[in-house]
């Protein structure tokens, strides 16, 4: 299954206000105060509408939790007066989320992409000594609880796209679940 976040073979966070992933038609909606303690609870409320056929529900839960955590912590700076808005829709084939916070937007987006490009080139060239500098993405605002790797995992996971709006305070993402199939069609008859 292809990953829409690959640009020239490298995972990249994109900014595209007009991405169709921002179309919220028919999506369920909830909004939460930016209370860090309740992230797990908010995640559960969202995931509970996922159909039971989705096989790796725990992974989905974990990924959604990371996104909400980012919005609460880095977006709204845990200000309970600020809201996190989530639009979501699930089916056995997909998970689609739009998460919006009231923060100033992800300023370090380009830095992150650059960081990732350099990391990848270290990997490609086998320069493991230099790779040590690119283990985790950190900014001045990062604290000890920020692993700096959540975005790598997110770009891998949300294979249908992971896109910010122009203001970078709203992110849309799509996961396509592989379709289970029995057998392949006889050649020439597909």
């Amino acid at each position: 299954m292809t990953n829409e976040n690959l640009v020239n073979g490298i995972l990249e966070i994109r900014v595209d206000e007009n991405s169709p992933l921002f179309d919220k038609t028919g999506m369920l909606h909830k909004e939460f105060p930016s209370d860090f303690r309740q992230i797990r609870y908010f995640t559960l409320l969202i995931v509970q509408s996922a159909p039971p056929d989705i096989k790796e529900i725990n992974l989905l839960e974990q990924q959604i939790s990371e996104i909400i955590k980012n919005a609460v912590k880095h977006g709204n700076k845990c200000d309970v007066e600020k809201k996190v808005r989530v639009w979501y829709s699930f089916s056995p084939e997909h998970a689609h989320l739009v998460v919006e916070d009231e923060g100033e937007g992800f300023r370090d987006l380009e830095k992150w992409n650059e960081f990732n490009r350099r990391r990848q080139s270290c990997l490609d060239s086998g320069d493991y000594e230099k790779l040590a500098d690119f283990v985790s993405f950190r900014t001045i605002k990062s604290d000890d609880n920020d692993g700096g790797n959540a975005l790598f995992a997110a770009l891998e996971y949300w294979n249908g796209g992971f896109v910010f709006n122009q203001k970078r305070n709203c992110i849309a993402m799509l996961k396509r679940f592989p379709k289970r199939r029995l057998g392949v069609s006889v050649e020439g008859e597909s």
Partner: protein, 647 residues
């Protein structure tokens, strides 16, 4: 020709011939319908030719006519007898010689051409096609034994001897000799008849063999289905089914080893899923893999090929069978080493196909002894066909079982919810209650209760557990137990909530979050107290102002933090007021345009039904939500609890 000569002709040898010819014709016509190669059609024409020339000769008894017809007859017979072989130009040379002799004889009889050449010598040229019929047929290596080929090869000596005897006797006696026509010609008819009977016995023998083969096949299919079927027990495992099927495949196809490969669910690949017996890999093993039997067996067991890659990947992609009788001579078979357990002598692979979809492949191997033959190949194909169905059925069964697990869990959760909520709502005299709850399939996380503490007092509870199914049901049961235990105390609702929170937080290794709102009411005084743990705001229809009042307290849900302190608000309920508690499934219910029902619509629904009794207000709200949602799917439980103060 007058009637006397007809009678004379009939009383001669013609009668015998006319009796024999139909018998011959009948035999060949009968056999013609039981074979597919068209050989018997040729013999039907031979019979017609015989009958025609004998009738003609009876009325035109010219010896040369009979001689010419013999030349033509044997030429024709040679062509028919060898028709199932590729004969090349040899046949045409033979026929040319034969027909040239016939032509010479004709010219000689009509125009006295070459009077010195004895007619009997020319007739004897017919020996050429007779010998050719015995010499020309031979089966090439790649040709199969068909009944007509078996006949031609098996009957060539009697045919040659009989035909030459006929020609010799004819030459001695002369074509006009009555003895020749009374004895030799009918005997020759008998020879042709014998061809029919020999052919019949060949067909019969083949039939008996086929019956035996099919009996064996049925027996092996029975074993196969039995092996697939008995593995379907309480503890169902695809692996067990595949293992026992691999064993049956191997045994019934007479192989030394066998493997079942299945295409993968998500990838364009096929992987080995079961191996039985000694199965030397036909594909190249990595150089780095030690040639130790255990390591190789383990490698083969987990081998995986992209579709189209290698021998087995190709079978899984193209759906074409593979039959390699002598693996040593085939360049497609990899040579991995000299060890006896790596020695592959003969190999068969057949795709497993169900409804035009290739679900995998069956591979069979021989490590010595007799190589696989055509019959083994046929058997393997048959087993693969039936095996495919058994494998597909197993997967369907597994899928159905998974589905039924999901369904069962949903049913259990629904059962838990049903037992937890009150069967009958209390009646406090001045206050009446109405309720409805519509669980969404598989969710079942809404909770409501009316706990009567005294004749005129009750605690109303509406909550929503985060999560769904049985896990949510357990949390719901815990909340209910704690609530029922503590509502009899004199504590205010805020304390009750704090206690519930403390009882739930961090106790069990389970997600245990819930919103919960409590309203304690006194029907005598009209006093009420509202406490909220992140649940939806309370809506109150006030008769005085004929408007909806929204009461909310900001707080966090049950189960987030053990030390959470909740607060309460005091309210007064006057006659005609309507108090409505509800879950988010109501306000977040979506219509087909993707819009949410919202609190405003809920308020309007209350306003419209304010004069109805509590039970009917609840029903009116339910109908409103249902109408709003239309045909869009209900994604969350919907619950409404209504209290109405009698006016």
């Amino acid at each position: 020709m007058d009637s006397v000569s007809i009678a004379q002709a009939l009383s001669g040898p013609l009668l015998v011939k006319l009796v024999l010819a139909p018998v011959l014709g009948a035999v060949f016509l009968y056999l013609r319908r039981r074979e597919t190669e068209g050989l018997m059609t040729g013999y039907v024409f031979v019979t017609l030719f015989l009958a025609f020339r004998d009738i003609l000769f009876a009325f035109l008894p010219i010896p040369d006519l009979y001689r010419i017809s013999d030349l033509l007859l044997f030429g024709f017979l040679c062509r028919v007898a060898t028709s199932s072989f590729s004969r090349g130009p040899g046949l045409w040379a033979v026929l040319a010689v034969d027909f040239f002799a016939a032509l010479l004889l004709g010219l000689k009889a009509l125009f006295g051409f070459a009077p010195g050449l004895p007619s009997e010598v020319l007739r004897f040229v017919a020996v050429v096609p007779v010998v050719a019929a015995a010499v020309l047929p031979s089966i090439r290596k790649d040709e199969t034994e068909t009944p007509s080929r078996v006949l031609a090869l098996g009957f060539r000596i009697p045919f040659t001897v009989g035909s030459i005897a006929y020609l010799v006797v004819g030459a001695f006696l002369g074509a006009d000799s009555p003895i020749f026509h009374y004895a030799a010609v009918p005997l020759f008819y008998g020879l042709i008849l014998a061809i029919g009977f020999v052919f019949m016995s060949i067909l019969l023998k083949e039939l008996v063999q086929a019956v035996g083969y099919y009996e064996e096949s049925i027996d092996s299919l029975y074993e196969l289905l039995l092996s697939a079927g008995t593995a379907v027990k309480a503890e169902f495992s695809i692996q067990e089914v595949l293992d026992s099927m691999a064993a049956v495949f191997t045994e019934k196809a007479g192989a030394d080893g066998g493997a079942i490969l299945l295409t993968e669910e998500f990838e364009e690949a096929v992987s080995v899923r079961a191996v039985h017996g000694s199965f030397p890999p036909p594909f190249k093993l990595p150089e780095s893999l030690p040639r130790a039997e255990e390591r190789v067996v383990d490698f083969v067991r987990h081998a995986r090929f992209k579709l189209g890659e290698g021998l087995l990947g190709e079978v899984a992609q193209t759906g074409k069978q593979l039959f390699i009788a002598d693996a040593a001579l085939d360049p497609r078979v990899a040579r991995n080493g000299e060890e006896p357990w790596l020695r592959l002598t003969s190999f068969i692979a057949a795709p497993l196909i169900v409804r035009d979809r290739i679900i995998g492949a069956l591979a069979l191997s021989k490590s010595g002894g007799e190589p696989f033959d055509e019959r083994d190949f046929d058997r393997a194909k048959l087993l693969a066909n039936f095996g495919s169905i058994a494998v597909a059925n197993s997967f369907s069964f597994l899928e159905a079982a998974e589905r039924s697990d999901i369904e069962r869990e949903a049913a259990i959760a629904e059962g838990v919810q049903k037992t937890i909520v009150p069967k009958k709502l209390a009646d406090l005299g001045a206050f009446s209650f109405g309720v409805f709850t519509t669980p969404a399939r598989g969710v079942c996380s809404d909770y409501y209760d009316v706990i009567q503490t005294r004749a005129d007092r009750a605690v109303l509870a509406v909550g929503d557990v985060a999560g769904k199914g049985v896990a949510a049901g357990i949390v719901m049961a815990m909340i209910r137990s704690i609530l029922h235990l503590i509502t009899n105390s004199a504590k205010d609702t805020a304390t009750l909530l704090s206690w519930v929170n403390r009882g739930i937080s961090g106790k069990v290794d389970l997600d245990h979050f819930a919103t919960l709102s409590l309203v304690a009411v006194d029907a005598t005084t009209g006093e009420a107290e509202f406490a909220n743990a992140a649940h939806q705001p309370l809506l109150i229809y006030r008769k005085d102002s004929d408007a909806i009042e929204t009461v909310d307290i900001k707080s966090i849900p049950i189960g987030v933090e053990r030390a959470t302190e909740y607060s309460a608000k005091r309210l007064r309920i006057r006659p005609g007021d309507v108090l409505v508690m509800y879950t988010d499934g109501i306000v977040e219910a979506m219509n087909e345009q993707g819009r949410q029902f919202g609190r405003k619509n809920l308020g309007n629904a209350i306003l419209r039904s304010r004069d109805l009794p509590a039970r009917e207000i609840a029903e009116a709200i339910r109908d409103d939500v249902a109408e709003f949602s239309g045909r869009s799917r209900q994604h969350d439980d919907q619950t409404v609890l209504v209290l109405k103060a009698k006016p």
